[in-house]
Amino acid sequence: MSSARPSKLSRSLTHFVLIVLAIVVLLPYAWLLVASLKSREDFFSGMFFPPGDGFLGISWESLTLSNYTTLMDMGFGRAAINSVFYASTSAVFATFICAATGYVLAKSKFRGRTFMTLVVLGSLIVPPTLLIAPSYELLFHLGLLDSVWGLLLPTFAPAFGVFLFRQAVQQSVPDELIEAARIDGCSEAGIFMVIVLPLIRPMIGAFLLITFLGMWNNFFSPQIVLQTASKQPLSVAISQLRGVYRTDYGLLMAATVVSIAPVAALFLVLQKQFISGLTSGAVKG
């Protein structure tokens, strides 16, 4: 930005500060990963690796996967499967429903369009805290408490998704293209599937990611809606694990690694979409 070439000293000082900060951010991950491989006896020997006479003065052979196998024996794998199912179902349905609604609000002319757009936009400022108690009561009356659908259905129609897709369609789908397809005899559903969806692919990718991540990380809803242990996703299962095995550090570490590894892997593959998606999703307020 500045045209004056920064001096060598200030450059290395900058890097020094950045590296220290990067270490502060990364250290918890490293500690987590290493400690999840330590047995209960080794936990207090050394902050990271247990000291010994192996390579680099580390006792490599005392590292173990036993925390992970114990977790699986305790049925934690079930929670992982639940999380995958909830997050992907919620992401796919929410994306499809919001894309269709956003497209119609952007391109179709019908009575009540302005009203509906205003209602959707207005609902963006409704604080979620207002809905907690009445939603619980509603799910009770619908018989959806402790049901997977009671958890999933409310996540299928997020208003901010409609807002984002309406904007995406307005920006990247020209009217002429839709008209041309219509004249060529393409059905309305065909136009949406074959012409509109491919044009808004970047938004679809970003929205799939943020809804997937949102559901994967959601703690509040499953904590309130679900009671049966075998239905719980990772977020609730891990907090219950901590409630019971507070001092079984290795086990809790392994559970955290299992919970964040899939998201970390996704992130490394799709960094760009993640950052643009998360910053756009946050605008919902």
Partner: protein, 298 residues
């Protein structure tokens, strides 16, 4: 021909809208209307309602625990904000230099904690801030060479500081991304003009850079406030479901949760929800005005 086309269009439009309209009405509009009525009732679990009028709100105003929760939540919000913002802005300034090597890697690293769900962060934080065994105390004791530092009781006695420290780890990198985007919009010719006029780096910062990122800064402030006023998962899991010693770590949403789902009074919980909603709506309205203003400027 024309009329068949337009009926097709209408049929498709309504078919595409129906799922959203149904779900939105059931899970958004209906609970929203109910939240007004529910706040005027007392309940014992979700099946009973006893009309009490405005009693819930009268009780709330005189409820010392509620005020403790508000105080804690505000301490957390303002505390994390005032440390977070300068850090995020400073990092963005440093990372904005195009000559810096590895800036995309730094960006990635600083942003990464944002991906972790709050429940997972809470468990990791609980482990890291544990007495004796935790990473934080062990690092402190190692650096200062003082074993008594192993006994710092982050999770009970200093719960508020712990929450703020965790929030820094979580959100500084996230807010940095907004500032980085804002810095891209700083007018280069203005900077050059300032330089020709002999402005030093500090003056450039004060008179050119800060004024042009101010809208984004306001946006980030409001966004963080709206988020942090709803703090729940971190203290709930760190404190194992209660407010900690003397409710030191009780937040507004935790208090809502306790009343609604532990004591079963969804009415009182709704009243707490309305009190918080009021604060959030004010912030959201300011935010909308800001966005409008910015769009008008563009």
């Amino acid at each position: 021909m024309m009329s068949r086309l337009s009926t097709n269009k209408t049929v498709f439009a309504w078919a595409a809208l129906t799922p959203f309209i149904l779900l939105f009405s059931i899970f958004m509009v209906y609970p929203l209307i109910q939240s007004a009525f529910l706040a005027l009732n007392q309940t014992y679990g979700p099946d009973t309602r006893l009309f009490v009028g405005t009693k819930n709100f009268e009780l709330l105003v005189h409820d010392p625990v509620f005020w403790t929760a508000i105080k804690n939540t505000l301490i957390y919000s303002l505390g994390s904000l005032f440390i977070q913002l300068p850090l995020a802005f400073g990092l963005a300034l440093v990372l904005n230099s195009r000559r810096l090597r590895g800036r995309s890697i730094y960006r990635l690293i600083f942003f990464s904690p944002q991906l972790m769900g709050l429940a997972f962060v809470a468990v990791l934080g609980a482990l890291a801030f544990e007495k004796r065994a935790g990473l934080v105390n062990r690092t402190l004791a190692w650096i200062m060479q003082d074993a008594s530092l192993l006994e710092i009781d982050w999770l009970q006695e200093y719960i508020m500081s712990t929450l703020i420290l965790i929030s820094l780890w979580l959100y500084v990198g996230f807010n940095m991304i907004y500032f980085l985007a804002a810095l891209q919009n700083v007018n280069n010719s203005l900077l050059e003009a300032a330089e020709i006029d002999g402005a030093g780096p500090l003056n450039k910062l004060r008179h050119v850079i800060i004024p042009s990122v101010r809208p984004v800064a306001t946006f980030v402030v409001l966004l963080s406030m709206i988020g942090s006023l709803q703090l729940f998962e971190l203290p709930y899991i760190l404190l194992n479901g209660n407010g900690g010693p003397n409710n030191k770590g009780l937040t507004i949403v935790m208090y809502l949760y306790q009343n609604g789902f532990e004591l079963g009074d969804l009415g009182y919980a709704s009243a707490v929800g309305w009190a918080l909603a009021l604060m959030l709506i004010v912030l959201a309205l300011i935010q909308i005005r800001m966005v409008r203003k910015e769009e008008a400027l563009r």
